[in-house]
Symmetry: C2
Subunit: 247 residues, 2 copies
């Protein structure tokens, strides 16, 4: 087994609505990509390029948003946007909203975030369809650079029971996001029954280690990981409601 | 920002109770370690060296364990061991036990696992004190090799709402497992309020990508990650009960 390399892609400028994101990434990568690389892209630049920004001055908060936000010293307009982006609320307590987004992700504030966004009163939403975003990005990168890469669109999610956030994959293109060892045997011949690894989430976490939150590095490459090529999606990483004990 | 390298440590033999684990790891690493490396070790070899194995033939299942196991076609002796290792049950449904271990980790089956263990009727437990295990391992590796490394003891945990398991850090020595950006500002000057990253979990996930489940590689090195040296522990990664909405 060879090792992996994790390479930051530096020099991507501030992304604006309508920008040609694959062109900005390719220009910054400057020939870096190799066939078999996994290109991890933080959703924030994808959302910005897709215009998924909301000027809070245009938002009229509902009575419910005002009531919650006032109690916990939040901006009621931002709370209203969190409600727009939510299919249902999973937990709403102590100023925290954990909700299920229209995509099916369960996360804090439905992914609505004001960090790394220009303007005091602008918030960023998740891409409308992160798998479609990943697929478009991959198709364009592959056709322009001529090398076959997989693409992961990432976000940082909190976890139940554990402190801190970690990067996960919300959009995937060109690879199977799960490595399913069920049916295989360990070196002692014992059948592996519960071993389905969320490798796309692990790849997203790996990329975060060279991105940081303040370094302005929104893209990283993971080289050397023998992923399984296939039509996998970020939706494959959402627990089916019927199997989920924590809905 | 430089990149990272993730290097598998190959050639570690089957670990037995009482084995000198630092010696086995150093011998297999053969001079690989450099100052600043993070050495990630799967708990299974730590547990084996510490004798945290249970021969199921010695276990007398309780009435409760028999009732649950029979209903879901589980081994009642293994269910009994899961109950031993649990402080309380968080969810118990459809044959799945999510419990809080005596350490405070919330995970499936209290970390009791039959994979990668020799013998048909032997199960492996989590180390009694994974932070102490990590600290002992680090102290011995540092004193024998003369290079200053951090050590993470890892396990694979499932997650609420998401498919698949990912590696997390259950024991930590020589580094701060959380990177706390609160109080810092993003490149636009916006204060980061929610950004505490569980970097030790991300490092554990990164290492998993070169370990696999069937390749017999229980140790990997992450090189180039600028971790914050300090007295952090794996317990720092457990959400405090008073803040946890999902207890």
């Amino acid at each position: 087994m060879k090792g992996l390399e994790i390479l930051p892609v530096e020099g991507i400028p501030e992304v604006r609505p309508g920008d040609d994101l694959p062109a900005l990434i390719s220009a910054a990568a400057d020939g870096l990509f190799r066939s078999g690389d996994v290109v991890v892209v933080t959703h924030k630049i994808v959302s910005k390029a897709e215009g998924r920004l909301v000027d809070l001055d245009t938002v009229e908060p509902s009575t419910f948003a005002k009531s919650f936000a006032t109690r916990y010293e939040k901006d009621p307009r931002q709370t209203e946007v969190v409600l727009w982006e939510s299919r249902r609320i999973v937990k709403m307590d102590r100023g925290i909203i954990i909700s299920e987004t229209h995509h099916g992700f369960v996360c804090a504030n439905a992914g609505v975030d004001a960090s790394n966004v220009p303007g005091d009163d602008t918030v960023c939403l998740l891409p409308l369809d992160p798998d479609a975003s990943a697929a478009r990005l991959r198709d364009t990168l592959v056709s322009r650079t001529g090398v076959d890469v997989a693409v992961i669109v990432s976000d940082s999610f909190g976890r139940a029971w554990r402190q801190g956030i970690t990067n996960v994959a919300i959009g995937v293109a060109g690879m199977d996001p799960l490595a399913d060892y069920r049916g295989e045997k360990d070196p002692h011949g014992y059948p592996l029954t519960a071993s389905v690894l969320a490798v796309a989430d692990e790849l997203a976490s790996t990329a975060e280690l060279v991105m940081g939150k303040t370094a302005g590095i929104p893209v990283a490459v993971v080289r050397g990981y023998p992923y399984s090529k296939g039509p996998g999606t970020g939706r494959d990483l959402i627990m089916e409601p019927g199997r989920d004990l924590f809905r």
